[in-house]
């Protein structure tokens, strides 16, 4: 008899196998997770809404459907969590902002529709930093150390996965908001290529930088969820009609001969020593599996964050233009500051930054020309403490916001697919992430490399004590 704690930390694909083999039922899975949420989430605070009755009903429906031979695949009957930025029919969707208090969408966003179609059981809504504009994700705490933030903005998704409170979650990523919390919570996440997954019905932070994608405890789980949600959406003009491969089938474990670009510049500057050591060791592991590490230089990355911030603040300010005038006090202080800054950004600054973006995209394209993927640290540091505003790298101080975006935002600017997988722990017990970046629409290779690494490491198998 499998113990409740072991059930909660099953990988999604393992839970799915047991469901398919009738070892465990969707109702049992759901009840076990709901019980754990009720016990543990008092401290982690990853959920803003727990859908006890709706989840139980969905689990019963899944179970009955399977009994009648209507098995839909690996998400059928599997409990998952949805970031509160995603519209969910009949369920309050606040983007964790007073601005949207009481907003109950009358339809699901495309991604949630697809997940329901695949048979997933929605346990509830998990926190986001207000409107995804930040990395704190208050009030959620990092399950590895409750004095630390879970990072963000998909902090609820990352913390819920690390705490064993769901089998997968949705995230969104404008400057690192899937990958940063994946790294901070010791779980996996992938920001797919711009245009790969629909953003219809997901609150906007920045039209040209936002991406939606999955978070989970294993790469195979990411592959399963990404396969379910990817693809062209006529309701989202950002999506592109590119065939969606079977990502799980791409996870062969074989990366012999794969060329792995290791940036010589930018991505290893101002990195905390434990992060540097863990990523270097991870590159060694990939080489031991037959991959070839190739040094690459990415030209002209100077001032890249100065070109990122005008885009995100201007676009966010445009989206919130009306509310900022009508009820500015409803925004949190940090978000209001960003929005006011974006309002005052010169149009020429925005346009020059968008032109600079062409240069960055070309540089990444060139750097990827002779390699299959690139690897970098996901974050230069481990999860900051709650309330911490500045990170220290040697003599240099950097805001938590800038440090969190530094290695992630370049791939929002370029639109390239990028995953984060756990690759170690710092002496303070906090997780470290390895970022794997691929060519446009080649999530399959990113996941293949990530999965091969995962098969030869055990970082993803560790769980916080949460005593």
């Amino acid at each position: 008899m499998i113990k409740p704690m072991e059930v909660c930390y099953l990988d999604l694909h393992e839970a799915a196998r047991r469901v398919a083999e009738k070892d465990i039922s969707p109702v049992e899975l759901t009840e076990t997770l709901l019980a754990r949420i009720d016990t543990v989430d008092v401290r982690v605070r990853s959920y803003v809404t727990v859908l006890h009755e709706e989840a139980r009903r969905a689990a019963r429906v899944a179970e009955q459907s399977m009994r009648r031979g209507g098995y839909r695949g690996p998400l059928h009957g599997i409990p998952i969590a949805i970031k509160d930025l995603y519209n969910t029919k009949g369920v309050e969707t606040t983007s964790c902002s007073k601005v949207r208090a009481g907003f109950i969408p009358d339809k699901d966003c495309t991604v949630v529709s697809k997940l329901r179609e695949a048979g997933a059981v929605i346990l509830g809504k998990v926190t986001t930093h207000e409107f995804a504009f930040g990395f704190d994700s208050v009030p959620t705490r990092n399950p590895w150390n409750l004095d630390h933030i879970p990072s963000g903005s998909s902090g609820g998704s990352g913390a819920a996965l690390a705490a064993g409170l769901c089998f997968a979650a949705t995230g969104s990523d404008t400057g690192g908001s899937i990958r940063a919390p994946a790294a901070a919570n010791g779980i996996a996440g992938i920001k797919p290529t711009y245009g790969r997954v629909s953003k219809e019905g997901v609150a906007v932070l920045s039209w040209s930088l936002d991406h939606t994608g999955p978070m989970a405890r294993s790469v195979r789980d990411l592959a399963i969820v990404l396969h379910a949600i990817a693809g062209f959406d006529p309701d989202d003009p950002h999506t592109k009609d590119v065939p969606v491969p079977d990502y799980a089938a791409a996870l062969t474990g074989n990366i012999r001969g794969v060329r792995i670009g290791v940036p010589r510049n930018y991505f290893f500057d101002d990195v905390q020593a434990p992060v540097q050591d863990a990523v270097t060791a991870a590159i060694g592991t990939l080489q031991s599996l037959g991959a070839n590490a190739v040094p690459v230089t990415i030209a002209g990355l100077d001032d890249i964050l100065d070109c990122f911030f005008p885009l995100v603040t201007s676009e966010a300010s445009t989206y919130h233009q009306k509310t900022l005038r009508q009820s500015p006090d409803l925004f949190g202080e940090d978000v209001r500051l960003f929005l006011e800054t974006g309002e005052l950004m010169l149009a020429t600054t925005y346009i020059t930054a968008q032109r600079a973006r062409s240069v960055f995209k070309a540089s990444f394209r060139e750097a990827l020309q002779d390699v299959d993927v690139m690897v970098t640290p996901t974050q230069p540091m481990t999860a900051p403490k709650v309330g911490q505003t500045v990170c220290r790298f040697g003599d240099r101080e950097e805001s938590v916001f800038a440090a969190s975006a530094r290695f992630c935002a370049p791939f929002n600017l370029s639109g390239l697919p990028a995953a984060s997988v756990p690759c170690g722990f710092a002496p303070d017990g906090l997780p470290i992430g390895l970022q794997i970046v691929g060519k446009p629409f080649d999530e399959a290779t990113v996941l293949r490399v990530a999965d091969a690494f995962e098969r030869h490491s055990d970082w993803h198998l560790r769980h916080p004590a949460l005593k």
């Binding site: 592109k240 100065d306 800054t341 005052l344 950004m345 600054t349 973006r357 062409s358 394209r365 600017l413």
Partner: protein, 68 residues
């Protein structure tokens, strides 16, 4: 192009905001001025490194120059 943002005063900012129908939170004005100066300086530095005919990257149709 010269960057004149170092001459931007908090009163200037309040005035620009007012003309756009926005009242800035008083405590934010100084920080906004600093941020705008820093970002503008970075963007203009970058501008000097690329060709005048460089296009905007923004493409809402999600097309990618480097096709898969």
């Amino acid at each position: 192009m010269e960057n004149h943002d170092d001459q931007l005063t908090e009163d200037d900012l309040r005035h620009i905001a007012k003309s756009a129908g926005l009242t800035l939170k008083a405590a934010n004005v100084g920080q906004i001025a600093d941020t705008l100066r820093t970002l503008r300086a970075g963007v203009m530095r970058k501008d000097r490194t690329f060709a005048a005919h460089t296009p905007l990257a923004i493409r809402f149709d999600a097309s990618w120059e480097g096709k898969p």
